[in-house]
């Protein structure tokens, strides 16, 4: 593979990342080709020693996605981490996917229920005293507060669980990230002389 073909496939694999990031990464590998050629190697040689540019791009993307989660513990960071791990495309992660979707769906359902209970509590709190509920206005107000407090605490627990789940996924992804490294496979073709 020529330097041009390698760089084209690498950029293709990195498409969608911020332009500055792609430029930084491309500059690293471009410099590597320049250094290699300066050391008297052919472009083919350097490209073979670097490994599959598509795979390299996947690992670089994964690292960037996982980093986004570690810097921003918010829903978009979590989404970045989940996509980063899925993007590695390892077989056992794909098998994990249905389980992940089930757990994620259940958590989403609980989150919706928690929000609904919270608002129902608000309605009971505000409107209950005027509906002539058994036990009088005081009971309606306390019941409303109780529902809202319960919903808030379950919501907090759910948030902690979600963060834990994404952290576990990141750990699992990194495990693959290291395993996927072509560096770790014996390579004899076109090593630096």
């Amino acid at each position: 593979m020529t330097r041009q073909a390698f760089m084209a496939r690498l950029r293709e694999g990195l498409a969608g990342l911020p332009a500055q990031t792609v430029a930084d990464i491309a500059a690293d590998y471009d410099t590597h080709f320049a250094d290699g050629v300066a050391a008297g190697r052919s472009e083919d040689d350097v490209a073979a020693a670097l490994g599959d540019p598509g795979r390299l791009a996947r690992e670089l993307r994964a690292e960037i996605g996982l980093k986004a989660w570690e810097e921003n513990r918010n829903p978009s960071g979590a989404a970045a981490a989940v996509f980063a791990v899925l993007g590695l495309g390892a077989i056992d992660i794909l098998i994990l996917l249905p389980v992940l979707m089930g757990v994620g769906g259940a958590m989403f359902g609980i989150a919706v229920a928690v929000i609904a209970v919270f608002f129902a509590g608000g309605v009971v709190f505000a409107a209950g005293p005027f509906t002539g509920i058994a036990g009088g206005p005081g009971v309606a107000i306390l019941a409303g507060i109780g529902l809202m407090a319960g919903a808030a605490s379950i919501g907090a627990i759910l948030t902690i669980c979600t963060i834990g789940l994404v952290n576990a996924l990141v750990w699992y992804g990194r495990l693959h990230y290291r395993l996927l490294k072509p560096a770790l496979e014996p390579q004899t073709v076109g090593g630096i002389q």
Partner: protein, 108 residues
């Protein structure tokens, strides 16, 4: 499976080797890659994801050095956290490899 063992060994040692090279003197990726490629047979391309990860973890930082030929070159050097990490990983490696050697030495 000897091959699997070899991969596991390299996987564990790669980061330590990079930190060790950088503890001697700051260096650029091609130099690190060529040293590691000839001595432990790692793929050259993965030095960049690895360096990126070390940088994310705050173990190395980079600066540009003007080059006489061509564009300026990106040099990596250990941060204080990197030096501390290298010292502890080196100690862990020494005690582990010493223990393994001791056991292997006993097996005739």
């Amino acid at each position: 499976m000897p091959e699997a063992i070899e991969i596991q060994l390299k996987k564990g040692a790669l980061e330590l080797c990079v930190l060790a090279l950088l503890s001697q003197h700051e260096s650029y990726a091609y130099e690190i890659a060529s040293r590691l490629s000839e001595s432990i047979g790692m793929g050259e391309g993965t030095i960049y994801p690895l360096m990126r990860r070390l940088q994310n973890d705050g173990l190395v930082d980079t600066h540009l050095v003007e080059s006489t030929a061509g564009p300026s070159r990106k040099y990596y050097r250990l941060t204080e956290a990197g030096k501390a990490s290298f010292a502890s990983q080196k100690a862990a490696w020494a005690s582990f490899s010493g223990a393994v050697s001791g056991i292997l030495g006993g097996v005739k």
